[in-house]
């Protein structure tokens, strides 16, 4: 529990937890990405697409990726949701370009760690603009908003992985050394 980590008394209602500061959640950079999302739109030549919905709140994201030789060359997103989910997917789409699949998975893992309160992840340079979202970890009910785009990414990458495995099973050996 957050309360324990903060060394505050572990009250089930969390009422003794210091109140998170709103300004830490709604950083300027987040609002900026929300109002002017990067890479919003559609890819004509996407290699993989993933549409995810948060059924409890109605947020949705459609993520498209274009890859070349195992490297993400382009990422676009559509959908709608709160500032946290939209800023997160906007920042993510910027950072993914030029990353390999393992690098993208690693980034998703570190972002997830940050959302679960890992202070080290929140200081890592490679997190770039995403560090502005560190404050979300103080709002447990909003963490799923921030992770929606990343869940879409991981599922999209899994889909690619699955297709590759199928190729391996039926076809030649060229993919094996990837």
């Amino acid at each position: 529990m957050t309360a324990e980590r903060d060394g505050a008394p572990d009250r089930p209602d969390g009422s003794d937890r210091p109140a998170p500061v709103l300004a830490e959640l709604y950083q300027e950079l987040i609002l900026e990405h929300y109002k002017r999302p990067r890479n919003k739109g559609e890819l004509e030549d996407a290699d993989v697409e993933m549409h995810l919905m948060n059924t409890s709140c109605g947020d949705e994201v459609r993520l498209q990726l274009r890859l070349e030789g195992g490297v993400i060359r382009d990422a676009r997103h559509m959908g709608n949701g709160c500032s946290i989910s939209q800023a997160s997917v906007s920042m993510m789409s910027d950072l993914l370009k030029g990353k390999t699949i393992p690098e993208s998975i690693e980034l998703a893992q570190r972002f997830t760690d940050m959302m679960h309160g890992d202070p080290v992840a929140a200081r890592e340079k490679r997190m770039g603009a995403l560090r502005a979202l560190a404050g979300v970890s103080q709002y447990p009910v909003r963490v799923k908003c921030a992770l929606l785009g990343w869940d879409a990414l991981l599922q999209a990458l899994k889909k690619i992985g699955g297709e590759e495995e199928e190729e391996h099973g039926t076809g030649g050996s060229e993919g094996r050394d990837r």
């Binding site: 109140a19 709103l22 709604y26 109605g58 946290i84 709002y139």
Partner: protein, 431 residues
Amino acid sequence: MSMDVASGPGTLRPPAPASAAGATLDLEWVRAQFPALQQDVQGHRLVYLDSAATAQRPRQVMSAIVDFYESDNANVHRGLHELARRATERYEAARTTVASFLGAAEAAEVVFVRGTTEAVNLVAASWGGANLRPGDEIVVTVLEHHSNLVPWQLVAQRTGAVLRSVDIDDDGRLRLEELDAMLAGGRVRLVAVGHISNALGTVNPVRSIVERAHAAGALVFVDGAQGAAHAQVDVAALGCDFYAFSGHKLGGPMGIGALWGRRSLLEAMPPWQGGGEMIARVELQRSTYAELPHKFEAGTPNVADAVGLAAAIDFLRALPPGAAAAHEAALMAYALECLPAVPGLRIIGPRTIEGRVAVFSLELEGVHPHDLATILDSRGVAIRAGHHCAQLLMRRLGVPATARASCYIYTTTDEIDRLAEGLELARKMFA
């Protein structure tokens, strides 16, 4: 709270306490009965505007439950000892209280259930399972909560019946001409409609719907989850065939509610769940069933919470007659005037106090409902953001979600001001 109390929409404050009026709520006293309201959240006095999800409970309800467990706890019916007698007496007295609260002809027509959802499932499975044939139609509305939709879907899938839905106009009111057209087809067996929309606060014209449905030979099931909390319910006056509500929406405990049904219908319906309490004579291959209402109450019932529900009803009925309704009308008039003053704010649903209750779906331009809820929460103002278990309605309105502020008898105009201040803060943050 009844909607038919006239109130000047121009008054911004509830009428000043005047003993002669007899219909004023002593708001300070009312609020003092609700322990959960006496707390600070995030450094601010709590403003609880999520009563449509669940209301807070007056201490009288908690006391009744504790008292039951401390003094009379025993399993009900058949027990031959003193505590079993007392427990049975309190349980059945609670049923009588619910029956009179609903205007039911007799207590035997009241079945205790977990809540409205269970009641819909009971009627859909029992009545629907026994009576629906392929091609029969069940009519719902686009305003329905998922709990007054999905159980009907399930029984339609099982029986081959067809679900149809009545649309709303731009003000969030049902388009009855659509209902008429559906009824004219002659295949509608049942109309399932909410008394009051949980998302928009619209009060549906149940009596008129009943008249139309009955004229076409269809029954009417009323989801009273919000209705029982905001309206004076009288099933005889409404003329409906089933009415269901949840205790926790009107200040009672969670996990208890009631289904009222006409005796003739309930008697003809097969049991829903099997077990103890609901049987008369049991043999290996078949059994005969208990009389109403026990036929529909398999297993040990939720006695303590039934007692708590009766205490909540007693609490409401002890308020000066008409006072709660007058209070709600004044709150609505205040909110409908002061909320739209926030730039970019839109109230989705009826914009006049007629035919609505103090449940407001809000849209603030440029601010997503979730962000709004978080920002308001940081000021101690509790609202709900999301689809409000009404995805059909959200799709119809063309919005993914709304922010909903819902009031109850303890809500004050000062709290509406706090809401408006929070909305203003959100607007500035996202400007």
